[in-house]
Amino acid sequence: MSAGTTSVLLLALPAAAAVLCACLRSARAAHAVAAAAMLVATLLAVPMAVEVVGSGAVVVGPHATWLDLGRFTLGVGTMVDPTGAVLAAIVALLATVVLVFNAWYMHDEPLAARFPWQFCLFAAAMQGVVLADNLFLLFCCWELVGLGSYLLIGFWFDRPAAADDAGYQARKGSGARGVLEHRLSPSHAQWKAFVMNRVGDAGFLVGIGALLAVSLQTGAEGDVLSFARLAALPTADLSAASLFGLSGESLLVLAALGLFCGAVGKSAQFPLLGWLPDAMQGPTTASSILHAATMVAAGVFLVARCLPLFPPDALAVVGWLGAFTCLFAASIACVQWDLKAVLAWSTVSQLGLMFAGLGAGAAAGGGEAAVAHLFTHAFAKCLLFLCAGAVIHGCHGHQDLARLGGLWRRMPVTAAFALAAVLALGGAPWFAGFVSKDAILAAALAAAKVPGGPGFGPFLLACAGSLLTAVYLLRWWLRIFAGRERQLEVTQAAHDPPRAVLAVLVLLVPATMAAPWTFGDWLPLPHGPEHATATTVALVLLALGSAIALVVWLLAPRAGRDLAAQLARVLRPLHTACAELWGVERAFDLLFTRGLGRGLAAVVARLDLGGERRLAALELDGAPRPLPASLDGVVDGLARGCADVGRAGALLHGGRVGVYLAIALGALALAVLVGWSA
């Protein structure tokens, strides 16, 4: 089967499974159908990936014109390149694994039958993003990915807000400051995720628009949004393109930044990152796929896909913002006490790292490095979340790092898997992260040396982020699995998932190792002179970070010691800032939700129809109606003005014949006088 056909099947299978599962009432059957479909997809995708990666060529799949608009067309079609092929395979594989895991995880969940179809929709949309051959289709699937995340995050749609949820209050991570609990609920989280993504999508649309404008102004026709055509754009003659005084090149920068804006939303980069931790309100299994391969990966993938379109100026922005997010999120992850929150912020941080790599540019090998990290991170994060899911499942929903501990005895396999994933993410030697993270640092370093590039900033920020990565990951593992059990009533019932589930999970473990990624050098990783430097730096940072984590972990139980107390005192403001998410959540809430959102909306609504008092009084005939300054009030005011004119006229009609006669005769006499003189 050709790669083109396979790519269509990869799209169609999950989509068909989604439709089929939506019709099934039985959770078990639905999971079976969905998992089977995803398994078939995996079995199709892996050989395809092997084939495409082997040939290194871009395979163009079927293409159809969706709409013909005369000057240009909008198409639907697929294409497979090595990156896409691998990512498609990873999506399929992880989806299969998560589905199987979920069948166990949700075995007593009444709504479980909903999960498979929403999940398959999600996966299908992601496959669409990965395999689309043009930006338009990618955008459509991109939006559907947003829909999938919306559905999954809001899976427990009827849960109350966290502040009102006794169960949540009992099980939440301690010291969860910075989270607006009166808002936090699955239904709010899904809304927030969708809307924040839409913020990015607005930029995405502007980017598409700018690309279209440039393309059409340079005389392009046909499917101008196809990646093949877009890739040629930077090298084309852009002198014909200009808009608002911007040259074609400037427009391309604008377009690139627009696309990146979309990626910022989807991949939860600063400042559009508030939704991702909230998305933890969804099932952990949903989080595992959302954080690994389907949702947040889309942003990185988009930028990687469009990397040829990114001029250096745009790349610098990408690099700086990514690296900043990497450090920013890592700093927050260090102080989280909710076991999933740590992972969530970790995802944000790692995505930032990927963007830092992308920002290094293709010449420095940043694209490959970032993609590689996307792959390795997907497996590790998926595994981490599934392990976290197992822990939460075993501990009856408790996710407070302060109350867990010593679980390695009760769930040794899980602990081992989690450790593998932690090491992989942290970039320990012989583990997967070691390969990809070092590549990113190397690329960033290489880019820093290029004159006119982003400079050393992104590299340094990424390094700091890497250091903290080691800290929070190790802290996370240690507080859950190592040491003594802190609260026996929380952990006593914990146990490893059943064998069948473990058998699936174990599939992911090899991917946390370095070997599969370096085998045969199939992954095109840069091996420049900076690589050695970067590797050294990374190892030092890893060691330092691990040391910090270990020291803190060891000191923490003995908080009375002077060192710990002093450290705590010194770091208190920093800690508070991190725990408060650097105020970004509150600022967002104030500025957007309350300010530009509800506040401005209330003002507009008031200016439009007036207040409730006016609206309530509308039908009362004759009664003086409040006439506030509103558009509708102006209309009523006009009407009232007309009526006032009429009232003035009616004054003449007070029933006095004398007045009538005076008007008539006076006007006649005046007319005679005037007519005479005229």
Partner: protein, 482 residues
């Protein structure tokens, strides 16, 4: 067929109406006939005879009556309206004794209107108007009228007397300035050097016509009369005199201004000013009325003004056609609306908007028809009123170089929009108000609509709906020969 010499001085249709009037008055002396309510039918017979006469031999008196298109059209319309009024009178539930007077007054009204519409001499014009006025007073206040009807009649007669006197005063000067009261002589006098004396006198003399058309500033009586008089009387008083006055106006203009030439700018501007003022004043003032019939009165002021606007545009065939169509649409809708109101009103202040609430529940069909007529008055397509407006506006917008007419035309359009709101007040009151309230069980079953009244309503409705798209009506009316 020739009439003996003195009688031939009057046009045959009006003579037929005279005979009918005499017959009704005689029949009113025979109690048996009174009890059988024959008067309206006698009137209808006279009306039919007059119609035949009009079709066969419109006839002209000894130079005092013109035979022209507007005269034929207006008198045809007057006879048709008379027939409707007589039918409505036949369906009215008043005591038998009053019916005779009512029918006589209606016939006399039509007679006066016909004379006015046909006159080409100021004296019969004035006498016709007086006849219209006197029979109107009788209609407004005769028989079972209540206190409000009497008040309306008193105001009507006082105002009418003054208007008549003013007109006479003007006519006197016209006579002095031209030596004759004949339209043709007045026209030639105006053309001669004595124009400076004739024009103001003419203006004063036009007061009589303006008063019948209820143009601002001679509109004062209309709302009070409409409000106080019995609705059927209002239906007659608001339609027939307007038709007659409009015809007289058109004819007077035809003599004053050479035919086939547009009115001189100053005259057109003056007429346009009167029309625009009336239109705007009426539409605004109607907004604040609390009585359906007062709203219709202000509507009548506006509609009279529209006729003047058409007359100002072009004293030519097209104007005649447009005016005839406009009057046809207006009178059909207005008659229908007032007959509907007559059926819907209860009690002495029955025409108040508040009192009409719930009519839609009590008499849905009548209320619906009322709304139809009112919509036609508002000029909503595809009803006849729309095409009437269309015809007038077509003329008003014809000359892009006449700013006064264009301004008046835009005023007309604006007034249409404002007036639509005032008509909506009636619709609101009749259909939407008191819609859900409990119905008084005593009123649950109103008396059935008498057959003649139903026929009147159906005829009006048919005209209102059927004429709405009859564009060729303008062509047909323009083709009416003398």
């Amino acid at each position: 067929m020739t009439l003996p010499a003195p009688l031939a001085a009057l046009p045959a249709p009006e003579l037929a109406l005279c005979v009918g009037l005499g017959a009704i008055l005689l029949a009113d002396l025979v109690p048996a006939l009174v009890a059988r309510r024959v008067a309206p039918w006698l009137g209808l017979a006279a009306c039919a005879a007059a119609g035949v006469c009009l079709a066969v031999a419109p006839g002209d008196g000894a130079g005092m009556f013109a035979v022209d298109a507007i005269g034929r059209l207006a008198r045809g319309l007057i006879l048709a309206l008379l027939a409707l009024q007589l039918l409505a009178a036949a369906g009215d539930r008043r005591p038998a004794r009053d019916v005779g007077v009512l029918a006589a007054a209606l016939v006399a009204l039509a007679l006066g209107a016909g004379v006015t519409a046909a006159a080409s001499h100021a004296l019969p014009l004035w006498l016709g108007l007086e006849l219209v006025a006197l029979s109107s007073y009788a209609l407004v206040a005769c028989g079972g009228g209540d206190r409000r009807a009497a008040e309306a009649g008193m105001k009507f007669v006082l105002f009418g007397g003054v208007a008549s006197a003013a007109m006479l005063f003007g006519l006197g000067h016209l006579y002095g300035a031209t030596g004759s009261l004949d339209f043709a002589s007045i026209g030639s006098g105006l053309a001669a050097a004595s124009a400076a004396a004739v024009a103001p006198a003419l203006l004063l003399a036009a007061a009589g016509i303006a008063y019948k058309l209820a143009l601002v500033p001679l509109h004062g009586y209309a709302p009070d009369v409409y409000q106080g008089a019995p609705p059927l009387a209002v239906a007659a008083v608001s339609t027939l005199p307007k038709v007659a006055a409009a015809a007289a106006l058109v004819r007077a203009l035809q003599f004053v201004v050479p035919p086939a030439v547009a009115a001189p700018a100053a005259l057109a501007a003056g007429l346009a000013l009167v029309a625009a003022t009336s239109l705007l004043f009426a539409s605004f003032t109607a907004l604040v009325q609390r009585c359906a019939r007062r709203i219709l009165a202000f509507s009548g002021i506006g509609h009279g003004a529209a006729v003047v606007l058409a007359a100002a545009c072009a004293p030519q065939r097209a104007a005649v056609a447009a005016i005839a169509f406009y009057l046809l649409a207006y009178t059909a809708a207005n008659t229908g609306a007032l007959v509907c109101l007559a059926l819907l009103e209860r009690g002495p202040r029955g025409s108040d908007l508040a009192a009409l609430a719930g009519s839609g529940r009590r008499r849905p069909w009548v209320a619906a028809l009322l709304c139809l007529f009112v919509a036609s008055l508002a000029g909503v397509p595809p009803l006849a009123g729309f095409l009437g407006k269309w015809g007038v506006l077509r003329l008003a917008f014809a000359d892009l170089g006449a700013p006064a007419l264009l301004a008046a035309a835009f005023a007309f359009v604006a007034a249409t929009a404002i007036a639509a709101w005032s008509y909506l007040l009636i619709v609101r009151a009749v259909l939407f108000a008191g819609d859900s309230g409990p119905t008084d069980p005593r009123e649950a079953a109103p008396l059935p609509v008498p057959l003649p009244t139903a026929v009147v309503l159906l005829l009006c409705a048919a005209a209102t709906c059927g004429l709405g798209l009859w564009l060729d009506g303008f062509t047909a009316f323009a083709a009416v020969g003398p």
